[in-house]
Subunit: 262 residues, 2 copies
């Protein structure tokens, strides 16, 4: 089996940065970073001792693997324009099926790190699930080894499963963070420091990990406390967006947990 | 200043259990647990070496403080029926103002532990913010000392502030947990284990504590990725409740973060 030594990264955003830094630290050689934006390409290339380019036409043909860590839209463009048939190519997207590469490349796969990345927050990938999929066993084995270099949590996830996983992650991460942001905003408006909610945020996450979230739901909507719900909706009468969110979520929780539990 | 030695707990639910156990462990004497439900009253009383009763008419008059850890509805009833004027009385509710005690008692206050309690999950109160308020300085000082016995995080929060704090906590805790529960449900439907989301849940909470949540928002709605949003809404077409939640939240996030940031 061909060993992976030389890696080309297409993309220089949050996922590209985290992945290439982790692979670089694990001893792999990032030979090139390609990004349309000169500055971000150069910035990441410097971090991982790579050269950089702003055009996929200049891609280095000595690559053992091409990792496309770009937006779904850009990924489509790449598959239409990148004509290197015999180099292993993977994407890192939760929401794009494996077959985007079909009939275009010989060996291809998906290398999807299930985490929330922001450039300002470098995280170790040790425990991050790396979800892999490939069009043949040989490629799957290569991706599994590459995954284990940066994480102890490598999982075989097919395109259909990944679709639901990505959707679930939107709820568990993106929408959860939005709930935090609303709380932050409500406190700020009344001179209160978000710090006072930190123990609650920690405990809520801990409980969700220790138990099944559906079994540890609490709050006014869970106990069908309509007086508190009405007061909260009234407090939010000047913040219609938040009021609408509160209404929808309290309604759905009440639906889910009725008959009333006091 | 009168020292607090003997405590009567009205209520035997999650908050009553956590508070009385913490105070018991801190060396205070819980002399009585009062709850309408014989079984829960007895169960908690046994845990904290207290006697128990199912009627507030049997309340022990040797109490130095009466802690009402009951539902908002039950609290109203208690204030209408409990005629012990000269014993310090507090409630533990995030959503009830101090003035519920006005003209009924001499010394009164609020002792609100800002945390999510479930009986099955005993938690230490060490870092839990205990939000206190009282109708006079003497009582405030007593509550502050009592708070410091069980937590290193005691905060003066008035009724107006507490109202917003409680509302913010509904978003940061109850609604966040509901997001986890939806994720759990989506994964279960497709044979995937919730464990795969645990690192993501942990990191999302960590980031919210390290940074301002509004500054670390990620996801399809944040980047106005309408293709992914449309696909997700389609996936959810058989789960109308979740689809509606997804739609409302993605709309609000897009509103908040426009113009588009790519």
């Amino acid at each position: 089996m061909k060993e992976i030594n030389n890696i080309v990264l297409i993309g220089a955003g949050n996922v590209a940065t985290s992945l290439s830094m982790a692979l670089h630290q694990a001893g792999k050689k990032i030979i090139q970073v390609i990004s349309r934006h000169t500055n971000t390409a150069r910035e990441l290339a410097e971090k991982v001792d790579a050269s950089f380019s702003t055009s996929i036409e200049e891609i280095k043909t000595t690559a053992d693997i091409i990792i496309c860590a770009v937006s779904d839209h850009a990924l489509k463009e790449i598959t239409e324009n990148l004509k290197i048939k015999d180099t292993l190519i993977v994407h890192t997207s939760g929401s794009v099926a494996l077959d985007i590469f079909e009939n275009k490349y010989t060996d291809y796969g998906v290398f999807y790190p299930l985490q929330t990345f922001t450039k300002s927050t470098p995280i170790t990938l040790n425990n991050v699930p790396v979800c892999i999929e490939a069009n043949n066993q040989k490629t799957l084995k290569i991706l599994r080894e590459l995954g284990h270099l940066i994480s102890n949590n490598v999982a075989d996830i097919n395109s259909d499963e990944r679709k639901y996983l990505h959707l679930a992650a939107v709820f568990a991460c993106n929408y959860t963070n939005f709930m935090y942001a609303i709380a932050e905003d409500l406190l700020k408006d009344h001179g209160l420091d978000m710090k006072i909610l930190h123990p609650l945020i920690e405990e809520t996450a801990s409980k969700a990990i220790k138990y099944r979230p559906s079994e540890v739901q609490t709050g006014p909507a869970k106990r069908n406390d309509i007086n508190t719900i009405s007061r909260h909706l009234e407090i939010l009468s000047n913040q219609r967006d938040y009021q609408e969110i509160y209404k929808v979520l309290s309604d759905k929780i009440r639906n889910k947990y009725k008959p009333n539990e006091f």
